[in-house]
Subunit: 367 residues, 2 copies
């Protein structure tokens, strides 16, 4: 990509949201409503430029925004649209800086689109990258936070006009706690902005190129469908993913507790996996995949459920009994696999003390 | 009082906290720890001037501060001391104003002392008045809020260094909700400051003279004890209270739910009330007193439990089985008895739809 980046086109939005749904590894919320909002803004003339990390000056201020709340709520509680924008403005005011670009907290799911909406409203470019290279359920689980971003001031805004600023925070875990509580009070769906970050810091800590990556994944899916190819195979080939299971959902459990969707899905194998069983643990996102009780993919690597026939990436809140799905695994970016990162986003951090992270490798499918 | 007010003396602190405990009507938290903090600051040279409402210029900015949280926690979770001060500074910064005086949200209980600590730290005077003339459990239950104070920006601070600013709030009920949640995350004990208020507004809406009133009540109790008089009788005489019941606690129930202490006390009559039963409903404060199932005092009027032998005002968290107490009632200030006020602090607002507020009159004791 040239350093001046490229203008996002209306026809990029559907592929982007589809690719983001895949990178959401089951979470991050459904990007559909946000996609409609972004399209509406673009049709009204808003231009959003996607710029590479290299385009950021050392001393430029970058706003990181995203929705916060339980994805299962996002389906029914339609955002007003300006939540992230208002949170971003509150953070700018409190910090006394003016941001010159917006970046996503997480490329996975709805938060791929939220920065685009905020940027369109503010007339700012969006940085091609994010803080996860996927989706994760908690505020501290970004590469920015892991590598030492300021934890305050951050802000949260709802659809009614409430804005809460986290002005001074002891650490990122306190920020997560206060923000989570406020998001629950806001109806478990709100716009969140963290402390503005300097350009040099963002260049060093963001997962690069993920907006473009999401658009390309989406295009692959749509193209394969249009050509009546096997979508799952095409996704596996083009992304370097591994196919780990094909099966039918025999049990799905989701509970909304403490602002999160928690639960699991049980699968009974079909095709090459006939006779096998699989289990996927969920906290907003897919956390661990076990096949016949053996853990085969685990956080921070990506576990993605695709509908077998259409290749549609399935978010956890739309999984249902009887669905036939293909479960693929994708390696997460190296920034998420350091010792420091694994303390925050490894299996132990998610409550699996018995699991030690075994990284996936890029390869094509094999059983 | 002259318009320049008077300097608070170290020997005023014990009477103040005792009178505040009485005006706390069972709630507002125990002022003991705060009293020690204030004394420490005064011994180190801090001067705190108590000024009358009339001393406030129209365009002076006044900070309203107080602790927020469940009183039962305050007994065990010792505050760091600077919580209200930090919340006040955060509000000043966010609002872009400099305050010239501090006033109490509620004179009842610990919040009689919190403004004194914040004022001592900031080198500011304390206004002789408060927003309740008693104690109430929720943020919107001040005369300031009832009569239209700005609901934002407000701020909350804890003992660890966390500061959360409620930058834009839809209304006072949302402020209560966000502040309550944050106080729970902070361990159910934190310092709170609401939006700075103008002097003319405070002169019109504050309950006047309550700091001095609390000191005088405390002095009455201490003097009666020193003279071996019947303390309960002396309090009733000097305050115009009514004695409504004397009895022994036969059952006491308190639960910490949603950041509040809720429960009730059951009493079996002694002396003039032998053979009668009484019940007191509690939400941090005493809400309603029933004698033989008849409601005789109810919010917003004050229901106060005094230990029969010593006249010690008893906060709800130290009530215990077998205690012998005198229950007195005191009329609340007229500002709390308007239609507008009763919608916020009347019996219906506390979940008693069957009760219509019947105001007490100032009179001396009779059965």
């Amino acid at each position: 990509m040239p350093v001046e980046g490229y203008l996002l086109k209306e026809e990029d939005l559907v592929p982007l949201s589809m690719g983001a749904a895949l990178l959401g590894t089951g979470g991050g919320g459904n990007p559909y409503i946000g996609m409609l909002r972004a399209r509406e803004l673009m049709r009204k003339g808003a231009e959003v430029r996607i710029i590479p990390l290299e385009a950021l000056a050392d001393d430029a201020w970058v706003a990181e925004v995203g929705g916060i709340g339980a994805p299962v709520v996002g389906v029914e509680k339609i955002e007003e649209g300006g939540e992230c924008y208002r949170a971003m403005r509150a953070v700018e005011e409190t910090a006394g800086v003016t941001v010159s670009a917006v970046i996503s907290a997480e490329i996975g799911g709805a938060n791929s689109i939220e920065p685009i909406i905020a940027a369109a409203m503010a007339g700012l470019p969006v940085v091609d990258g994010d803080g996860m290279g996927r989706a994760f359920p908690e505020v501290q689980m970004t590469t920015y936070m892991i590598y030492g971003a300021d934890v305050a001031p951050a802000a949260i805004a709802d659809d009614k006009g409430n804005v809460v600023v986290f002005k001074e925070m002891v650490d990122m875990f306190w920020l997560e706690r206060f923000a989570r509580d406020a998001s629950v009070a806001m109806g478990a769906g709100a716009g969140f902005a963290v402390a503005p970050m300097r350009g040099d810091f963002v260049r060093r800590t963001a997962v690069p190129g993920t907006v473009t990556q999401a658009i390309e994944i989406g295009r692959t899916i749509l193209e394969a469908r249009a050509k009546r190819q096997n979508v799952v195979d095409r996704v596996v080939e083009s992304t370097g993913a591994t196919l780990f299971f094909t099966g039918k959902i025999t049990d799905i459990k989701r509970e909304l507790t403490g602002g999160f969707s928690r639960g699991h899905a049980l699968l009974s194998g079909v095709g090459d996996w006939a006779g096998s069983e699989a289990r996927i643990a969920i906290q907003n996102e897919n956390l661990v995949l076990w096949v016949d009780d053996k853990p085969v993919v685990m956080v921070p690597d990506l576990i993605v459920n695709l509908e077998m026939d259409t290749g549609e990436p399935l978010t956890t809140e739309i999984l249902r009994y009887g669905q036939r799905i293909a479960v693929i695994g994708l390696p997460v970016h190296d920034l998420m696999k350091t010792q420091r990162a694994l303390e925050i986003v490894g299996p132990k951090a998610f409550g699996y003390p018995e699991l030690t992270f075994q990284p996936l490798e890029f390869r094509t499918a094999s059983k």
